[in-house]
């Protein structure tokens, strides 16, 4: 390993942001800034694709590892990827350029600052997924709060201040306990290097408390019921690009954290707390699906559906079965694509009508057919129709769940039905029916860039729906080794 490819992935967006910072900002004409940002993120995407191509799928050990002394004798700057994290990195680099293309209409003022925030956000998110040291992970995990706070607060909707504060304080509160746990791990084992920690393991008597501390942070970020309430607020008030980033990538940090840290570092405690996770996940699936049914605001509905989908993810992770964990990872990737697409579709009509209320719309199919077709695809992917990536994830999760706990799996399956109910009902009310609102008659169909973005998202959703092998091959070895390690740990204790 000569070329520090992961560090360049992390640093490139920051370099781009610095470059943007020094470009001249002419009022009303921000094309240069946009092209610079777009160029940076596309290059980053290409690098990450190269990363995926040169990634060795036959081993579960970390690849492209960089290990540098950072604080003498204490923390090393250590990054690397395995089958679990690489997909999230690609998801991040894939979604960000689409976000940047999409900001055309939604962000009117201070576009340059907005792009800087998005770029910085991207590099922090990539950092989260490659960090192999607990402190480095925490650093990236927390640092992401700053740009997201600004994105919601400056460019958000009417109640943006409340939402930004709620988002920031909720997640900070969850995370400080994780910091205590990380420092405690350092004093217990003498290292914060994840790879070494996998090898030496952590004493059983500490595991439960440490697990809970990590859980407090991840549960807020996931978000799990009952600490999910920041999410609808943040989603609704954030500008479209912000919602996309939040839903597609930020929520995945916690799911990734559960797999990498909760399962990997605290196997015994994970076993102990599985019932807790099951209960919370099942409540999240059923309860938030029901809430989603009753929403009148489209963005809020999608936000609640995110909570329900993340309920599936946590459920799948803690089945501790090969299928369950693989399903969770695929579900996260799929949800990243689908929720991004759904927020963008809402953004499209919001830009034209300036309303997110379902009651404003109705009968869209007769005026904007292209839009309606794509919207249908995404709605179906969200409810997990076979042939879309959403199906693969949910199916694998439920398979894992049936192996582990029949009752939980049955209840979760009911959640799938509810998911179909709210998505189809939303689609019916927005797209079908009589065109009652006079203003809707003048509405324009997708323009070129919107069409491009949505097709970009639709392609992988369909592709991986029919042919999920590239995803499964990438994660398979890592997941099976994780489970083997877990089982030997359980057996030895």
């Amino acid at each position: 390993m000569n070329f520090p490819i992961l560090s360049s992935l992390i640093l490139l967006p920051i370099v781009g942001a610095l470059f943007l910072f020094f470009t001249k900002d002419k009022e009303g004409n921000n094309l240069t800034a946009k092209y610079v940002a777009l160029f940076t993120t596309i290059v980053n995407f290409l690098i990450s694709i190269y990363l995926w191509i040169s990634f060795d799928q036959s081993t579960s050990s970390f690849q492209f590892v960089e290990d540098r002394t950072w604080i003498e004798g204490f923390i090393n700057y250590k990054v690397g990827v395995d089958g679990i994290s690489i997909l999230f990195i690609i998801l991040t680099t894939f979604i960000t350029p689409l976000c940047i293309i999409s900001v055309n209409n939604s962000v009117k003022n201070r576009l340059r600052d907005f792009l800087i925030a998005i770029l910085i956000m991207e590099s922090f998110m990539i950092g989260v997924f490659c960090a192999l040291d607990l402190v480095v992970f925490y650093l990236f995990f927390e640092a992401g709060l700053i740009p997201m706070f600004l994105i919601i607060g400056i460019w958000g909707g009417a109640r943006r201040v409340y939402s930004a504060f709620k988002f920031f304080l909720y997640t900070l509160l969850g995370s400080v306990l994780m910091l205590v746990a990380i420092i405690s791990i350092y004093w217990i084992t003498g290292t914060t290097d994840v790879v070494q920690l996998y090898e030496i393991g952590i004493d059983v008597k500490y595991q439960n408390l440490l697990w809970l501390a990590f859980f407090s942070s991840f549960a807020v970020k996931t978000p799990m019921w009952p600490v999910h309430t920041w999410l609808p607020d943040a989603h609704v008030e954030a500008p479209t690009a912000g919602s996309v980033l939040l839903a597609a990538i930020l929520l995945k940090m916690a799911g990734y954290g559960f797999i990498r840290f909760s399962l990997g570092l605290f196997p015994i405690a994970s076993e102990v707390f599985t019932p807790l996770i099951y209960t919370l996940s099942v409540i999240a699936i059923i309860f938030t699906s029901l809430i989603a049914l009753m929403q009148e605001d489209m963005k809020k509905l999608i936000a609640y559906s995110s909570v329900a989908h993340m309920g599936f993810v946590t459920l799948g992770i803690f089945t501790l079965q090969q299928q369950g964990i693989e399903g969770s990872i695929i579900q996260m990737i799929s949800h990243g694509l689908v929720s991004a697409a759904l927020f963008l579709t809402v953004g499209v009509v919001y830009d034209r009508m300036h309303s997110r209320l379902i009651s404003t719309y109705g009968g869209l199919v007769s005026v904007i057919p292209k839009y309606s077709i794509l919207f249908m695809l995404f709605a179906l992917a969200s409810l997990g129709l076979p042939g879309t990536s959403g199906f693969i994830g949910e199916f694998l999760i439920l398979m894992g769940a049936f192996k582990d706990n029949f009752l939980v799996a049955v209840i979760a399956s009911i959640g799938v039905i509810l998911g179909a109910a709210y998505m189809l009902w939303l689609y019916k009310r927005v797209v079908f029916g009589k065109l009652l609102n006079e203003d809707l008659k003048k509405i324009l169909d997708l323009n070129r860039s919107e069409y491009f973005i949505l097709s970009c998202l639709a392609a992988p959703i369909l592709f991986f729906g029919f042919y999920p092998d590239p995803l499964i091959n990438t994660i398979e070895v890592s997941v099976s080794d994780l489970i083997n390690m877990h089982n030997t740990n359980i057996a030895s204790k």
């Binding site: 003498e72 927390e142 607060g153 400056i154 304080l169 900070l172 509160l173 205590v180 420092i183």
Partner: protein
């Protein structure tokens, strides 16, 4: 014969003070030259300090009443740098209020001299002498803008309350002297044993006096009023420089004479620390004046510093010193921003005056944003690392309660920092402020912001310097 080179910085600075006074009296319109000379004085003192004492591991002078070791020289250097930056960015503010006089640099220099004596003291009497020298200079500085009611009030309040605390401190010293038969720290440390209950009173009195000087809860009441009333540059001086000296003395008292009585004082320090962290975070929420808010926030930060001291370990002491150094930089940046809020010879210090700052002054508000997130302890900024080291030391001693309360109060504290950011970035803009700031002000803001922002790239350097300090 004593090696006087070790106290050369003190000797040089006192001679300079006398010279500047004489110059000021005999030369007309000499304020400008006094200011410039005082810059050089501090710089030369700092250079002498580095040259003469930085490599000394531990030396005592004058019947062991003065000690020069790695902690004292490091703290002196931080004090001098802090004092220097305060002086250089003061000029335009003082000129605006027509108080650009020779007394200002002379008073600052004398208080710095007092602090240097305090930092080096290894004897109750030397310590008290230094303390009074710095306090007397600070009383006058607080009232420096004497035409303003608030400034006079601040000075008077500070004088009365500080005199009271000095009285307590002196009484504590006399009790300790009574039980140990000596004023020398090393001898006290050998003589004291924890069976004497009255001795505990002595310790408590001394700690109360010192807690007053660093404005730890519940002895913080003077801070908001004094900080608000004093001229802004003096407030800046108050928030950073005396705290460094007082903290050093705190460390010295706890870990030299009272080291054997650790059971007696550890709970007190933990209490002071928790009370300061929690109170500083909660009380700042309702403030509308930035200077008052900074007062409460500095109370909170002192709480974190004390948390490091409560651990009774070298790591804890080192983490406290790292904390206070980073805190100095952050406060310097914060006040530089505050001093830039000037419009037509009037300075603005309400939080509401920051409204929409990011639209008119994007760079200034970006700096302020970095500083505020750093004060709130959000990674990857320097303020996070400061807290990180402290809690690392605290958790090493398994003091989970202290760590968890401390970290939870950072969340509360984050709220009021965020409120300022909200006002700057999310609210409607007001009129523009003047942009013709002095070069030094811009310099100090840029340098301190860059230090805060890029600290994470080279965190080891500071640790290396501080790791030479081994008190226990």
């Amino acid at each position: 014969m004593e090696n006087l080179n070790l106290v050369l910085p003190e000797i040089f600075i006192s001679l300079s003070i006398m010279f500047l006074l004489v110059l000021g009296v005999f030369k007309k319109n000499s304020s400008k030259i006094t200011f410039n000379l005082s810059f050089f004085t501090i710089l030369i003192t700092a250079i002498i300090t580095i040259n003469e004492t930085f490599s000394v591991s531990r030396e005592t002078l004058f019947n062991e009443s003065v000690v020069i070791d790695s902690m004292s020289s490091l703290m002196k250097i931080i004090t001098l740098i802090g004092g220097f930056l305060v002086l250089v960015i003061s000029s335009s503010y003082l000129k605006t209020f027509k108080i650009y006089n020779i007394e200002y640099p002379v008073l600052i220099l004398s208080s710095i001299l007092g602090m240097m004596v305090m930092i080096s003291s290894n004897d109750l009497i030397v310590f008290y002498m230094g303390l009074e020298l710095q306090s007397l200079a600070l009383y006058v500085l607080a009232t420096y803008n004497r035409d303003q009611l608030k400034s006079s009030e601040a000075g008077l309040k500070y004088f009365v309350l500080s005199a009271l605390s000095s009285g307590l401190l002196l009484y504590g010293c006399s009790l300790v002297y009574g039980f140990s038969g000596s004023t020398n720290f090393d001898i006290i440390s050998n003589q004291l044993n924890s069976d004497e209950y009255v001795l505990t009173f002595g310790i408590v009195f001394i700690l109360v006096g010192l807690a007053f000087k660093i404005s730890a809860v519940p002895f913080h009441m003077w801070a908001p009023d004094v900080y608000e009333g004093s001229p802004t540059t003096v407030t800046l001086f108050f928030t950073i420089v005396p705290k460094i000296a007082a903290l050093t003395v705190f460390i010295r008292f706890l870990y030299v004479p009272f080291l054997n009585l650790i059971d007696q004082w550890q709970m007190i320090i933990i209490f002071l620390s928790i009370a300061s962290m929690v109170f500083g975070a909660v009380a700042a929420i309702g403030q509308t004046n930035i200077k008052r808010l900074i007062a409460y926030s500095s109370i909170g930060h002192i709480g974190y510093t004390l948390a490091g001291l409560a651990t009774a370990s070298n790591e804890g002491i080192q983490s406290s010193i790292i904390y206070i150094s980073i805190y100095v930089v952050m406060n310097l940046a914060l006040f530089s921003c505050l001093l830039m809020l000037r419009r037509k010879d009037q300075y603005y210090e309400d939080i509401e005056d920051l409204s929409g700052l990011s639209k008119n002054h994007p760079l200034l508000s970006l700096c302020l944003l970095v500083v505020l997130f750093s004060l709130a302890g959000i990674p990857p900024l320097a303020g996070f690392f400061a807290k990180f080291y402290v809690f690392k030391a605290v958790l090493e001693q398994s003091m989970f309660f202290l760590a968890i309360v401390g970290l939870l109060s950072t969340v509360v504290a984050a709220f009021y920092y965020l409120r300022i950011i909200k006002i700057m970035y999310f609210d409607k803009e007001k009129d523009k402020y003047d942009t013709d700031h002095s070069l030094w002000l811009k310099f100090s803001l840029t340098v301190s912001t860059i230090l805060i922002l890029l600290y994470f790239i080279f965190p080891s350097q500071l640790i290396e310097v501080v790791s030479r300090i081994n008190i226990i």
